[in-house]
């Protein structure tokens, strides 16, 4: 237990150091404006990291595996589909019909709906099979992606420009106007979820053990699926989809923290996520001078790490 706390403190220090470096490196003499912009960026990265880390760990616990993440199960695809449908319906009047704030909260409600459907049709089933889950996830993800591209193909090119703003966000093009709403949502998610992390510890033993130990299994699973829905909406709204990130950071967390306690795993995963994104973004801005995008770095390192994981498990 003590060693875990030490590791967490170390991660906090590294994260703070990296953020400080990111904020202060090569500031121009008239630093006020740059500093403010960079602070917003760091804040956005922290919000996104916390939502990705939190959502991925919880999702992996609920599904008892270490490869699936919400983005693979089509959560992000649902968000993109929703955005596309709005523009498809309202065209260039989108902005007059619905403002960014309303859009954001509507998206969250929509994601909660998706989480509920997932719960009803997959988790409520008695025979729960991981491969079936994976298959359903991939099929759903692809289906939503295809519908999204189809809709994007037939809408007016001018309307498509509106869409681009909202769905092709990235770490270089963060939707800053949503920052405060996103921050509120994520604080709520942590506040309501934190006291229940102990139930996640029990759920990680499996459904039958969890029921045996007196957990209201289905209620907890539904609760956490809702949280995941809201978290994915937050991160996708701010910076768009980042598929590989969840797998990378969760597995790093399991590797570093050999623990089953979610009160440790979840904060640790958020910190690791902050460190990797701030680090990668620093490289993008100052080493590669914006010549590559962060997703390439994350996918490159994530892919290498994933291959390492596969090779390692093969040996055993």
């Amino acid at each position: 237990m003590k060693i875990h706390i030490k590791k967490i403190i170390l991660l906090v220090l590294v994260a703070i150091a990296l953020c400080a470096l990111f904020l202060s490196y090569d500031l121009p003499s008239n630093w006020g404006y740059s500093f403010e912009r960079r602070s917003y960026k760091v804040l956005a990265i922290i919000i996104v990291s916390c939502s990705v880390g939190y959502a991925s760990i919880v999702f992996q616990t609920l599904t008892h595996n270490r490869i699936l993440t919400p983005s693979i199960m089509g959560f992000e695809a649902v968000y993109l589909l929703f955005q596309t449908i709005i523009v498809f319906l309202y065209g260039d009047k989108t902005f007059t019909v619905i403002n960014d704030k309303e859009n954001f909260f509507l998206s969250i409600i929509f994601m909660l709906g998706f989480a509920f459907i997932l719960f009803k049709f997959i988790f409520k089933k008695e025979k729960n099979n991981l491969y079936l889950l994976l298959l359903i996830g991939l099929v759903l993800g692809t289906l939503f992606h295809t519908i999204t591209s189809f809709l994007q193909l037939i809408i007016d090119p001018n309307d498509f420009l509106i869409l681009q703003g909202s769905i092709y966000a990235s770490f270089n093009k963060i939707n800053y106007h949503l920052l405060w709403y996103a921050l509120t949502v994520i604080i709520i998610c942590f506040a309501v979820g934190f006291r229940q992390f102990k139930y996640l510890d029990v759920i990680s033993l499996g459904k039958e053990h969890a029921i045996n130990l007196g957990i209201n299994y289905f209620k907890k699973v539904r609760f956490y699926l809702f949280i995941i829905g809201a978290l994915v909406a937050v991160s996708t709204a701010l910076v768009g989809p980042i598929i590989f990130l969840g797998i990378l950071v969760t597995n790093l967390t399991y590797e570093i923290f050999k623990s089953y306690k979610h009160a440790i795993l979840i904060p640790a995963c958020c910190l690791i996520c902050i460190i990797s994104i701030v680090g990668a973004q620093f490289l993008v801005e100052h080493v590669f001078s914006f010549n590559i995008v962060i997703s390439i770095i994350i996918n490159f390192i994530g892919g290498l790490y994933f291959m390492y994981l596969l090779l390692k498990t093969k040996k055993v």
Binding site: E126, K198, L205, N212, G214, I215, Y254, K258
Partner: protein, 252 residues
């Protein structure tokens, strides 16, 4: 006491448990026997609320299980299923500590620590308590899970093939442990078991299932009888009496 009334469970068109009504006596060991697919595990699962029955009701201590709070029921009744594979970094002690979750919700008290220690010692795992589960053999893992159930300290213990993965020495050890639990602590133990001789030697009552129906339920002496066993398993049995216990020979 555990009492089920007209329990039925079907998956699609297949009826797995068919109208089972049984009253399991308190403080005794009851074995559930029958061939594969007879519905034994499903019946056990419905009693433990892991599987929802389509019909019927289950009464534990004069109270329907649906009227219990989850946490309270978990202090009355525990179940251990046959497949216990975990992909978790967990030591034996941490696993056994989970058995106290219904009482302390993760914050272990003095009493909890004592019960955990007791349970670990009860299953001879004290030397292994800080080992990770994945380092243990199948039999040791099975004992660790049993220790969790012992730490849960419920009056009713349901076990689905507790001897799975165990060699003869450990099987006998576990059965003696269970017998001990039922005699000294007045626990009611219901288990699905395939080895008829273990059932015959250690249980007080035997319930036999065939094609989802409960076909016999009686004291062990009355069940271990060539005619009844043939009806259950469709093979011939020879019953040998030794030391006042009945042993079955069905190997020919």
């Amino acid at each position: 006491m555990i009492k089920t009334t007209n329990i039925s469970k079907q998956y699609g068109d297949k009826i797995v448990v068919d109208n089972v009504t049984i009253e399991i006596p308190k403080g005794k060991i009851t074995s559930l026997i029958g061939s594969n697919g007879a519905g034994k595990s499903t019946l056990l699962g419905t009693i433990a609320r892991i599987i929802n029955a389509n019909h019927g009701e289950i009464i534990i201590n004069e109270k329907n299980i649906t009227d219990y709070k989850n946490r309270i029921l978990a202090q009355e009744l525990s179940i251990l299923k046959q497949m216990n594979h975990l992909d978790l970094k967990l030591t034996v002690k941490e696993l056994v500590s989970f058995g106290r979750f219904p009482y302390s919700q993760g914050r272990l008290t003095e009493v909890d620590h004592l019960k955990i220690k007791e349970a670990i010692a009860f299953l001879n795992l004290t030397e292994l308590e800080n080992n990770y589960l994945e380092e243990l053999s199948g039999g040791q893992q099975q004992r660790a899970f049993l220790a969790m159930v012992v730490a849960q300290d419920t009056d009713y213990i349901l076990l689905d093939e507790p001897l799975n993965n165990l060699d003869m020495r450990h099987s006998v050890q576990i059965m003696k442990t269970l017998k001990d639990l039922s005699v000294t602590k007045n626990k009611t133990i219901v288990m699905v078991i395939h080895d008829i001789n273990f059932a015959s030697y250690y249980s007080d009552y035997i319930a036999a299932m065939k094609q989802g129906k409960l076909i016999h339920f009686n004291t062990t002496k009355n069940i271990i009888n060539p005619k009844i066993l043939k009806e259950i398993y469709d093979i011939d049995f020879e019953i040998i009496e030794s030391n006042n216990k009945l042993i079955c020979n069905y190997y020919n």
